[in-house]
Symmetry: C2
Subunit: 191 residues, 2 copies
Protein backbone atom coordinates (compact mmCIF):
# COMPACT_ATOMS: atom_id res chain seq x y z
CA UNK A 1 0.00 0.00 0.00
CA UNK A 2 1.63 3.23 -1.16
CA UNK A 3 1.54 6.35 0.99
CA UNK A 4 -0.80 8.29 -1.25
CA UNK A 5 -3.47 5.60 -1.23
CA UNK A 6 -3.13 5.37 2.52
CA UNK A 7 -3.62 9.11 2.91
CA UNK A 8 -6.73 8.92 0.74
CA UNK A 9 -8.18 6.06 2.75
CA UNK A 10 -7.45 7.78 6.05
CA UNK A 11 -9.11 10.97 4.87
CA UNK A 12 -12.14 9.06 3.59
CA UNK A 13 -12.55 7.16 6.87
CA UNK A 14 -12.20 10.33 8.93
CA UNK A 15 -14.89 12.08 6.92
CA UNK A 16 -17.21 9.05 6.97
CA UNK A 17 -17.00 9.22 10.76
CA UNK A 18 -17.99 12.86 10.71
CA UNK A 19 -20.49 13.08 7.91
CA UNK A 20 -21.16 9.59 6.56
CA UNK A 21 -20.37 8.10 3.18
CA UNK A 22 -22.41 10.39 0.99
CA UNK A 23 -21.11 13.34 3.00
CA UNK A 24 -17.58 12.39 2.01
CA UNK A 25 -17.09 14.11 -1.33
CA UNK A 26 -13.99 13.40 -3.37
CA UNK A 27 -13.15 17.08 -3.17
CA UNK A 28 -13.16 16.97 0.63
CA UNK A 29 -11.17 13.76 0.67
CA UNK A 30 -8.49 15.24 -1.57
CA UNK A 31 -8.28 18.37 0.53
CA UNK A 32 -7.92 16.48 3.79
CA UNK A 33 -5.42 14.04 2.29
CA UNK A 34 -3.41 16.98 0.98
CA UNK A 35 -3.45 15.71 -2.58
CA UNK A 36 -5.14 16.55 -5.84
CA UNK A 37 -8.64 15.30 -6.51
CA UNK A 38 -7.73 13.57 -9.76
CA UNK A 39 -5.05 11.56 -7.97
CA UNK A 40 -7.86 9.76 -6.16
CA UNK A 41 -9.09 8.37 -9.44
CA UNK A 42 -5.60 7.34 -10.49
CA UNK A 43 -5.41 5.20 -7.36
CA UNK A 44 -8.99 4.02 -7.19
CA UNK A 45 -11.41 3.26 -9.97
CA UNK A 46 -14.30 4.80 -8.08
CA UNK A 47 -15.17 6.29 -4.72
CA UNK A 48 -16.55 3.00 -3.37
CA UNK A 49 -13.19 1.33 -3.81
CA UNK A 50 -11.58 3.60 -1.25
CA UNK A 51 -13.86 2.26 1.46
CA UNK A 52 -13.44 -1.35 0.39
CA UNK A 53 -9.66 -1.00 0.41
CA UNK A 54 -9.88 0.73 3.79
CA UNK A 55 -11.89 -2.04 5.34
CA UNK A 56 -9.16 -4.50 4.47
CA UNK A 57 -6.66 -2.62 6.59
CA UNK A 58 -6.38 -3.99 10.14
CA UNK A 59 -6.65 -0.41 11.34
CA UNK A 60 -10.21 -0.19 10.13
CA UNK A 61 -11.19 -3.78 10.58
CA UNK A 62 -11.27 -4.98 14.18
CA UNK A 63 -9.05 -7.99 14.41
CA UNK A 64 -11.59 -10.42 15.80
CA UNK A 65 -10.74 -14.05 15.14
CA UNK A 66 -11.03 -17.27 17.08
CA UNK A 67 -7.67 -16.38 18.64
CA UNK A 68 -9.05 -13.18 20.12
CA UNK A 69 -10.86 -15.37 22.63
CA UNK A 70 -8.22 -18.05 23.09
CA UNK A 71 -7.02 -17.05 26.53
CA UNK A 72 -9.42 -19.35 28.36
CA UNK A 73 -8.89 -20.30 32.01
CA UNK A 74 -11.93 -22.59 32.32
CA UNK A 75 -13.29 -20.37 35.06
CA UNK A 76 -16.69 -19.11 33.96
CA UNK A 77 -16.44 -15.69 35.57
CA UNK A 78 -13.01 -14.68 34.34
CA UNK A 79 -13.64 -16.25 30.95
CA UNK A 80 -16.90 -14.42 30.29
CA UNK A 81 -15.21 -11.19 31.32
CA UNK A 82 -12.38 -11.99 28.93
CA UNK A 83 -14.84 -12.51 26.08
CA UNK A 84 -16.57 -9.21 26.71
CA UNK A 85 -13.39 -7.26 27.36
CA UNK A 86 -11.58 -8.53 24.31
CA UNK A 87 -14.58 -7.77 22.14
CA UNK A 88 -14.81 -4.23 23.47
CA UNK A 89 -11.07 -3.71 23.13
CA UNK A 90 -11.30 -4.37 19.40
CA UNK A 91 -14.71 -2.94 18.66
CA UNK A 92 -13.99 0.60 19.75
CA UNK A 93 -16.62 3.35 19.84
CA UNK A 94 -14.82 4.81 16.84
CA UNK A 95 -15.27 1.63 14.86
CA UNK A 96 -18.93 1.44 15.83
CA UNK A 97 -19.51 4.96 14.60
CA UNK A 98 -17.56 4.19 11.47
CA UNK A 99 -19.61 1.06 10.89
CA UNK A 100 -22.77 3.12 10.98
CA UNK A 101 -21.32 5.14 8.12
CA UNK A 102 -20.40 1.92 6.35
CA UNK A 103 -24.06 0.97 6.31
CA UNK A 104 -24.72 3.48 3.57
CA UNK A 105 -26.85 1.66 1.00
CA UNK A 106 -24.41 2.51 -1.78
CA UNK A 107 -21.73 0.36 -0.19
CA UNK A 108 -23.57 -1.84 2.28
CA UNK A 109 -23.55 -4.88 0.05
CA UNK A 110 -19.77 -4.90 0.14
CA UNK A 111 -19.29 -3.85 3.76
CA UNK A 112 -22.00 -5.97 5.37
CA UNK A 113 -20.12 -9.28 5.32
CA UNK A 114 -17.09 -7.68 6.95
CA UNK A 115 -19.22 -6.05 9.61
CA UNK A 116 -21.24 -9.17 10.31
CA UNK A 117 -18.11 -11.25 10.61
CA UNK A 118 -17.39 -9.73 14.02
CA UNK A 119 -20.49 -10.75 15.99
CA UNK A 120 -20.44 -14.07 14.19
CA UNK A 121 -16.93 -14.91 15.35
CA UNK A 122 -17.78 -13.88 18.89
CA UNK A 123 -20.89 -16.00 18.86
CA UNK A 124 -19.22 -19.14 17.57
CA UNK A 125 -16.27 -18.90 19.94
CA UNK A 126 -18.53 -18.32 22.92
CA UNK A 127 -20.96 -21.08 21.98
CA UNK A 128 -18.11 -23.56 21.66
CA UNK A 129 -16.71 -22.44 24.98
CA UNK A 130 -20.03 -22.80 26.79
CA UNK A 131 -20.61 -26.25 25.34
CA UNK A 132 -17.24 -27.38 26.56
CA UNK A 133 -17.91 -25.95 29.99
CA UNK A 134 -21.17 -27.83 30.04
CA UNK A 135 -19.44 -31.06 29.05
CA UNK A 136 -16.89 -30.50 31.76
CA UNK A 137 -19.79 -30.19 34.18
CA UNK A 138 -18.70 -26.71 35.21
CA UNK A 139 -21.96 -24.95 34.44
CA UNK A 140 -25.62 -25.85 34.42
CA UNK A 141 -27.33 -27.72 31.60
CA UNK A 142 -28.07 -24.61 29.59
CA UNK A 143 -28.88 -23.91 25.93
CA UNK A 144 -25.41 -22.79 24.86
CA UNK A 145 -26.60 -21.09 21.67
CA UNK A 146 -29.17 -19.07 23.55
CA UNK A 147 -26.85 -18.01 26.37
CA UNK A 148 -24.13 -17.08 23.90
CA UNK A 149 -26.70 -14.97 22.06
CA UNK A 150 -27.55 -13.21 25.28
CA UNK A 151 -23.93 -12.43 26.09
CA UNK A 152 -23.25 -11.27 22.54
CA UNK A 153 -26.33 -9.06 22.55
CA UNK A 154 -25.44 -7.60 25.93
CA UNK A 155 -21.90 -6.92 24.78
CA UNK A 156 -22.82 -5.52 21.40
CA UNK A 157 -25.78 -3.58 22.79
CA UNK A 158 -23.70 -1.76 25.37
CA UNK A 159 -20.95 -1.04 22.87
CA UNK A 160 -23.35 0.30 20.29
CA UNK A 161 -25.50 2.35 22.65
CA UNK A 162 -22.44 3.86 24.35
CA UNK A 163 -20.88 4.75 21.02
CA UNK A 164 -24.15 6.25 19.79
CA UNK A 165 -25.33 8.20 22.78
CA UNK A 166 -22.27 8.43 25.00
CA UNK A 167 -22.85 9.20 28.64
CA UNK A 168 -26.26 10.65 27.94
CA UNK A 169 -27.70 7.17 28.23
CA UNK A 170 -25.49 5.04 30.47
CA UNK A 171 -24.01 6.41 33.65
CA UNK A 172 -21.69 3.45 33.85
CA UNK A 173 -18.07 2.55 33.13
CA UNK A 174 -17.24 -0.30 30.80
CA UNK A 175 -15.48 -2.32 33.53
CA UNK A 176 -18.37 -1.95 35.93
CA UNK A 177 -20.84 -2.92 33.24
CA UNK A 178 -18.92 -6.07 32.35
CA UNK A 179 -18.52 -6.98 35.99
CA UNK A 180 -22.19 -6.56 36.76
CA UNK A 181 -23.37 -8.32 33.59
CA UNK A 182 -21.16 -11.33 34.17
CA UNK A 183 -22.20 -11.57 37.81
CA UNK A 184 -25.87 -11.46 36.88
CA UNK A 185 -25.56 -14.07 34.19
CA UNK A 186 -23.51 -16.39 36.34
CA UNK A 187 -25.11 -15.98 39.72
CA UNK A 188 -28.50 -14.62 38.88
CA UNK A 189 -30.35 -11.86 40.66
CA UNK A 190 -33.01 -13.99 42.29
CA UNK A 191 -32.83 -14.73 46.00
Amino acid sequence: MDKTSKKIIDAMMEIILERGYTGATTKDIAERAGINECTIFRKFKEKKEIVIAGMELPQYHPNITAETFADIKWDIESDLKMFMENYMKEVTPQFVRLSIGLRSPQIYQQTAPLIMDIPQTFLHALTDYLCEMKNKGKIRDIDCDAVASTVLSATFGFTFLSASFGNDLFDLERVKYIDSTVKSIIGGIAL
Copy 2:
Protein backbone atom coordinates in the same frame (compact mmCIF):
# COMPACT_ATOMS: atom_id res chain seq x y z
CA MET B 1 -52.54 15.75 8.33
CA ASP B 2 -53.92 15.88 4.78
CA LYS B 3 -53.81 12.82 2.54
CA THR B 4 -51.20 14.19 0.19
CA SER B 5 -48.72 14.94 2.93
CA LYS B 6 -49.30 11.48 4.34
CA LYS B 7 -48.63 9.89 0.98
CA ILE B 8 -45.39 11.85 0.69
CA ILE B 9 -44.25 10.81 4.16
CA ASP B 10 -45.11 7.17 3.53
CA ALA B 11 -43.20 7.17 0.28
CA MET B 12 -40.20 8.87 1.89
CA MET B 13 -40.11 6.36 4.77
CA GLU B 14 -40.41 3.41 2.41
CA ILE B 15 -37.51 4.62 0.33
CA ILE B 16 -35.37 5.44 3.36
CA LEU B 17 -35.82 1.81 4.40
CA GLU B 18 -34.62 0.64 1.01
CA ARG B 19 -31.95 3.13 0.09
CA GLY B 20 -31.36 5.48 2.99
CA TYR B 21 -32.02 9.19 3.29
CA THR B 22 -29.72 10.43 0.55
CA GLY B 23 -30.99 7.64 -1.68
CA ALA B 24 -34.49 9.03 -1.36
CA THR B 25 -34.67 11.65 -4.09
CA THR B 26 -37.64 13.94 -4.31
CA LYS B 27 -38.27 12.60 -7.78
CA ASP B 28 -38.54 9.03 -6.45
CA ILE B 29 -40.70 10.14 -3.57
CA ALA B 30 -43.13 11.90 -5.89
CA GLU B 31 -43.30 8.90 -8.18
CA ARG B 32 -43.99 6.45 -5.38
CA ALA B 33 -46.50 8.78 -3.75
CA GLY B 34 -48.26 9.15 -7.10
CA ILE B 35 -48.06 12.93 -7.04
CA ASN B 36 -46.09 15.64 -8.76
CA GLU B 37 -42.65 16.54 -7.52
CA CYS B 38 -43.42 20.19 -7.01
CA THR B 39 -46.31 19.29 -4.74
CA ILE B 40 -43.76 18.03 -2.25
CA PHE B 41 -42.41 21.53 -1.89
CA ARG B 42 -45.85 23.01 -1.55
CA LYS B 43 -46.40 20.77 1.46
CA PHE B 44 -42.90 20.83 2.92
CA LYS B 45 -40.35 23.61 2.96
CA GLU B 46 -37.51 21.17 2.34
CA LYS B 47 -36.78 17.48 2.09
CA LYS B 48 -35.67 17.22 5.72
CA GLU B 49 -39.09 18.33 6.89
CA ILE B 50 -40.72 15.24 5.45
CA VAL B 51 -38.71 13.02 7.75
CA ILE B 52 -39.25 15.21 10.78
CA ALA B 53 -42.99 15.25 10.18
CA GLY B 54 -42.91 11.50 9.65
CA MET B 55 -41.17 10.84 12.92
CA GLU B 56 -43.96 12.59 14.74
CA LEU B 57 -46.49 10.08 13.47
CA PRO B 58 -47.08 7.21 15.88
CA GLN B 59 -46.69 4.89 12.91
CA TYR B 60 -43.04 5.79 12.57
CA HIS B 61 -42.28 6.50 16.18
CA PRO B 62 -42.52 3.51 18.50
CA ASN B 63 -44.90 4.34 21.27
CA ILE B 64 -42.58 3.68 24.18
CA THR B 65 -43.58 5.51 27.34
CA ALA B 66 -43.60 4.71 31.03
CA GLU B 67 -47.00 3.11 30.45
CA THR B 68 -45.56 0.62 28.00
CA PHE B 69 -44.06 -1.15 31.00
CA ALA B 70 -46.85 -0.58 33.48
CA ASP B 71 -48.25 -4.10 33.55
CA ILE B 72 -46.12 -5.22 36.48
CA LYS B 73 -46.96 -8.35 38.48
CA TRP B 74 -44.09 -8.08 40.98
CA ASP B 75 -42.82 -11.43 39.84
CA ILE B 76 -39.29 -11.00 38.54
CA GLU B 77 -39.48 -13.59 35.80
CA SER B 78 -42.74 -12.55 34.21
CA ASP B 79 -41.95 -8.88 34.68
CA LEU B 80 -38.56 -9.02 32.97
CA LYS B 81 -40.17 -10.93 30.12
CA MET B 82 -42.85 -8.28 29.92
CA PHE B 83 -40.23 -5.53 29.69
CA MET B 84 -38.36 -7.28 26.89
CA GLU B 85 -41.46 -8.35 25.01
CA ASN B 86 -43.12 -4.95 25.11
CA TYR B 87 -39.92 -3.31 23.92
CA MET B 88 -39.62 -5.71 21.03
CA LYS B 89 -43.28 -5.36 20.15
CA GLU B 90 -42.84 -1.64 19.61
CA VAL B 91 -39.31 -1.57 18.25
CA THR B 92 -39.92 -3.71 15.20
CA PRO B 93 -37.15 -4.81 12.83
CA GLN B 94 -38.66 -2.37 10.36
CA PHE B 95 -38.23 0.52 12.77
CA VAL B 96 -34.66 -0.52 13.53
CA ARG B 97 -33.82 -0.52 9.85
CA LEU B 98 -35.59 2.78 9.43
CA SER B 99 -33.67 4.24 12.35
CA ILE B 100 -30.41 3.33 10.66
CA GLY B 101 -31.56 5.45 7.72
CA LEU B 102 -32.53 8.19 10.13
CA ARG B 103 -28.92 8.38 11.30
CA SER B 104 -27.96 10.13 8.09
CA PRO B 105 -25.76 13.04 9.13
CA GLN B 106 -27.97 15.51 7.26
CA ILE B 107 -30.87 14.82 9.62
CA TYR B 108 -29.32 13.09 12.61
CA GLN B 109 -29.33 16.19 14.77
CA GLN B 110 -33.11 16.29 14.56
CA THR B 111 -33.77 12.56 14.68
CA ALA B 112 -31.28 11.59 17.41
CA PRO B 113 -33.33 12.80 20.39
CA LEU B 114 -36.38 10.88 19.19
CA ILE B 115 -34.34 7.73 18.66
CA MET B 116 -32.54 7.99 21.97
CA ASP B 117 -35.78 8.52 23.82
CA ILE B 118 -36.65 4.85 23.41
CA PRO B 119 -33.76 3.16 25.23
CA GLN B 120 -33.86 5.92 27.82
CA THR B 121 -37.49 5.27 28.70
CA PHE B 122 -36.84 1.55 28.91
CA LEU B 123 -33.84 2.08 31.16
CA HIS B 124 -35.59 4.40 33.57
CA ALA B 125 -38.67 2.23 33.88
CA LEU B 126 -36.61 -0.90 34.45
CA THR B 127 -34.26 0.75 36.94
CA ASP B 128 -37.21 2.00 38.97
CA TYR B 129 -38.79 -1.43 38.85
CA LEU B 130 -35.63 -3.21 40.01
CA CYS B 131 -35.13 -0.78 42.87
CA GLU B 132 -38.65 -1.39 44.09
CA MET B 133 -38.15 -5.13 43.84
CA LYS B 134 -34.99 -4.74 45.89
CA ASN B 135 -36.81 -2.68 48.51
CA LYS B 136 -39.53 -5.29 48.64
CA GLY B 137 -36.79 -7.85 49.30
CA LYS B 138 -37.78 -9.87 46.26
CA ILE B 139 -34.37 -9.88 44.59
CA ARG B 140 -30.77 -9.74 45.72
CA ASP B 141 -28.97 -6.56 46.74
CA ILE B 142 -27.91 -5.70 43.20
CA ASP B 143 -26.81 -2.51 41.46
CA CYS B 144 -30.14 -1.66 39.79
CA ASP B 145 -28.64 0.74 37.27
CA ALA B 146 -26.12 -1.81 36.14
CA VAL B 147 -28.57 -4.69 35.86
CA ALA B 148 -31.05 -2.52 34.00
CA SER B 149 -28.25 -1.57 31.60
CA THR B 150 -27.54 -5.24 31.02
CA VAL B 151 -31.16 -6.05 30.27
CA LEU B 152 -31.51 -3.03 27.99
CA SER B 153 -28.33 -3.91 26.13
CA ALA B 154 -29.38 -7.54 25.76
CA THR B 155 -32.80 -6.46 24.49
CA PHE B 156 -31.56 -3.76 22.17
CA GLY B 157 -28.61 -5.85 21.00
CA PHE B 158 -30.78 -8.76 19.93
CA THR B 159 -33.30 -6.50 18.25
CA PHE B 160 -30.65 -4.61 16.34
CA LEU B 161 -28.57 -7.62 15.32
CA SER B 162 -31.66 -9.53 14.21
CA ALA B 163 -32.92 -6.60 12.19
CA SER B 164 -29.52 -6.09 10.61
CA PHE B 165 -28.45 -9.60 9.81
CA GLY B 166 -31.65 -11.61 10.09
CA ASN B 167 -31.31 -15.32 10.53
CA ASP B 168 -27.77 -15.29 9.18
CA LEU B 169 -26.54 -14.53 12.67
CA PHE B 170 -29.02 -15.86 15.23
CA ASP B 171 -30.66 -19.20 14.84
CA LEU B 172 -33.14 -18.32 17.51
CA GLU B 173 -36.73 -17.17 17.89
CA ARG B 174 -37.55 -14.03 19.79
CA VAL B 175 -39.59 -15.87 22.41
CA LYS B 176 -36.88 -18.41 23.04
CA TYR B 177 -34.26 -15.69 23.30
CA ILE B 178 -36.27 -13.74 25.84
CA ASP B 179 -36.97 -16.86 27.84
CA SER B 180 -33.35 -17.93 27.95
CA THR B 181 -32.05 -14.44 28.69
CA VAL B 182 -34.44 -13.90 31.56
CA LYS B 183 -33.71 -17.32 33.03
CA SER B 184 -29.96 -16.66 32.89
CA ILE B 185 -30.22 -13.28 34.49
CA ILE B 186 -32.53 -14.47 37.22
CA GLY B 187 -31.16 -17.89 38.02
CA GLY B 188 -27.64 -17.71 36.69
CA ILE B 189 -25.80 -20.37 34.80
CA ALA B 190 -23.36 -21.39 37.52
CA LEU B 191 -23.86 -24.65 39.37
